[in-house]
Point group: C2
Chain length 318, copies 2
Amino acid sequence: MIALTGDIGGTRIKLAVVRDGQIIARQIEPALADQRWPDRLPALAATWRALCHEANIELATVAGLGVGFPSLVDAARGRILDEWGKFPGCAGFDFGAWARDTLGLPLALDNDARAALIGEWRQGAGRGSNDVVMVTLGTGIGVGVVMQGRVLRGAHGQAGTLGGHLTVRYGGRPCICGNVGCAEAEASTAVLRELAALRPEFATSALARETELDYASVFQLAEAGDACALALRDHSLGVWSATIVNLIHAYDPERVIVGGGIMRSSAHILPALQHYVNTHAHTAWGRVQLVAGELGDDAALLGGAWLVNEKNFPNASA
Amino acid sequence: MIALTGDIGGTRIKLAVVRDGQIIARQIEPALADQRWPDRLPALAATWRALCHEANIELATVAGLGVGFPSLVDAARGRILDEWGKFPGCAGFDFGAWARDTLGLPLALDNDARAALIGEWRQGAGRGSNDVVMVTLGTGIGVGVVMQGRVLRGAHGQAGTLGGHLTVRYGGRPCICGNVGCAEAEASTAVLRELAALRPEFATSALARETELDYASVFQLAEAGDACALALRDHSLGVWSATIVNLIHAYDPERVIVGGGIMRSSAHILPALQHYVNTHAHTAWGRVQLVAGELGDDAALLGGAWLVNEKNFPNASA
């Protein structure tokens, strides 16, 4: 089966041609997420066409377009449900009609973190398990869930997806989602500079001199004994750990996959999370295993092909 | 269909005969939860037999025994998975074999909050919805979940059940479950006296003179302006609200049923929870409706009959 896939992010957009679970052509572009979604799409169509040309694929042989989008999504009806300050005009836009009219392809749309989960579940770190949660630590915190062999979507497409928006600190920081004390508001790249600047140790910290503050710097400087970096590191690890315990308590998985850009520092992260989970999660049956994602940036691109596959479009069995 | 049912609590045990969704005989007993579970059971068997006699029911016409137990439960195999300081010896005890040998009945066992949810979903405040979460506020905090018409149980029977053990206050109070900052450790009757005693206003509060401190007193005294009661009330409402937002974000329900003993003060509770949910839950599709349980103490007793029904035991269709 051949699918065109896309992983739409707030920073980068990744597009691919996937054949039988292999990416045979890919392109990474800046997101330009302040553009209106209907205006952003023509350039993406052009890239998908160019990738097909490069891979020597006729559009007529493609089963469908599988896209992970950074928003709540109604996967059944192929609609983006709301906007999170990215790609204005995306909510309610008839993306399915666009795909049909522009590329002649049926659309399989889902949340981006859910698409990544599906990729890892089918082809990566979740292989062989029917009960998997994936947490994507990056600009925001995305979550996807498989329970007893079924991708969890819920009545309105929201289930699992909002795992980064479980309150872990009641009365804590306001979050972009409208809630307070969410993991995403307490420890993510989106709020890292703000979090750092709130610390009294910030003024004298090497972090204050970083132009693009990211978690890689935080972990490095924490190792070197920087007080602000240490405090940020420990707070963030605690918030992520509490979030993972919540996801374990909510969804009863046997494995939790941790992925996303922040996991480039995985050696600083996974052992701490596993230790907290071992000592805090209530799992009478045994221990939940934490593992790093295996597919990196490819997870949602490969997951997109599984979304197409799941839809049983006319060409999807080819 | 006729079922014997039981709602095993840490304070009281309720036993019943249910015929076609109606309780036709019932008995409430003190829990005596410090007794070993195998030693507690003979008296329960005697009560179930007496209830059958009272209702003029032959045991041979009963479809099964449906029991809600206050612990994690493997519903598929009919085993209690762990002990929470109640009924020692319950975990691992072959309750199914006991029911067969003692009453000649097959056992349908589940978590008590899940049994209450099933009762409310089928016959009470959840009727007509396929996506329902029920939160039971009482000595502890129990949760049960129906998603898209299926009772959520998960790979190890834990899903949904641990909703009172989602961290809402990272770094907060240690919980009996092994986690910290769970709703049950932050705001439940089990910890109410301890919570009150920690407040500086406690010494001069009327709460200090209550012999059995409960939330009914807290709400009453808060109305009267007692500073300690006010602080406890507001903290508890906040913790329950944050928990309900987490359950909404986790399970995507359209309705949340709030039940349990604390809801005897529902007029003080529901409007506050609904307001918080309206302003904090991210639900692009619309508003989640909070409703009070309708079945009160009968919820898990009626749910027990649905558990028997669900199992398709030989007599269950009669």
